[in-house]
Symmetry: C2
Subunit: 177 residues, 2 copies
Amino acid sequence: MVSSSALATAAGVKPSQLRRDLAYFGTFGTRGRGYPVQALRMAIHEGLGRAKLQPVIMVGAGNLGRALLRYDGFRKEGYDILAAFDSAPDKLTDKSIPVPLHPSDSIASFVKTNNVRMAILCVPAEFAQQAVNDLVEAGIQGVLNFSPAVLQVPADVTVNNVDLALELENLSYFVRK
Amino acid sequence: MVSSSALATAAGVKPSQLRRDLAYFGTFGTRGRGYPVQALRMAIHEGLGRAKLQPVIMVGAGNLGRALLRYDGFRKEGYDILAAFDSAPDKLTDKSIPVPLHPSDSIASFVKTNNVRMAILCVPAEFAQQAVNDLVEAGIQGVLNFSPAVLQVPADVTVNNVDLALELENLSYFVRK
DNA sequence: TAGATTGTTAATCGATTAACAATC
DNA sequence: TAGATTGTTAATCGATTAACAATC
């Protein structure tokens, strides 16, 4: 068993917040005792849709896209990047990446064939909206967007934005001049 | 001139929010007219500490660290990654990276010599706390942390966390099973 | 003057936290 | 029973938004 206060310390949050967040998914603990570790671990996996390996595609194989393809943290957490797509794959033949590289116009058929629901978007800002339009059209439901652009999508598609340069910019505000 | 509503549309926020955020830094607009583009741009640069190129170091040259070193988005936004540090630089001689690679124990002297205030941290989770302790000791004031770990730092040091796998995990919650 | 648009107040909304009855 | 700790309510806090007087 583990208590909410032990978990909260490890996660860097307050115990009351941790209990509230868990309660949002269901009732896992026992009053007076705490939470059963193994059952809780499995319930969280289940609740976050981590029951099995999730297929993902990478869209854009420029500097950042290739960089993230070589990062092994996604796979460790249960995400399997099946392939990368680029508008000019021929220009990248000499750049080694650990997954197959296809032309952008084959995204739709690949997504349908492989039942892919999530995409990582790493194209230049000026092409990002068109790229996400194509992804939505192909049936993608979730986009992790690394392009520094504000994207318009239908309400049933989720976009999470990660702007690396902006993160550094936020930080610089707190650094003494 | 540009209006708060035009800027808000471009940024993906509400006009009232944009005006409030700008007002936090100062008074830049003219009632009835809007904001003068060039003066506002310069004021924002100034307010965010972007007057000149900011020196930054990369700590950890594993998969993710090397990946980010090859990404050119940081430099475009005015950040200059001067060097990378790794606990075992000798093992990485065959891996090409675009900046000098030094052993970790030379961080403190490098930081002082080059007046570095910000660091990007990409070491394995289990070494992250020790690494950030060393950075704080060396005088680093801001850390962009890509290690999936909760870091303890003094109140005058700022840590911004970016957990790439967690971002994907958040997204998967919104994707229909 | 009439129309436009800021800066700021007040209202709303949502997220965090403290507190505590329930109960092991 | 006494001590511990959850799940949940109510209070607090902060962030977002609408509204509008100021004013160009």
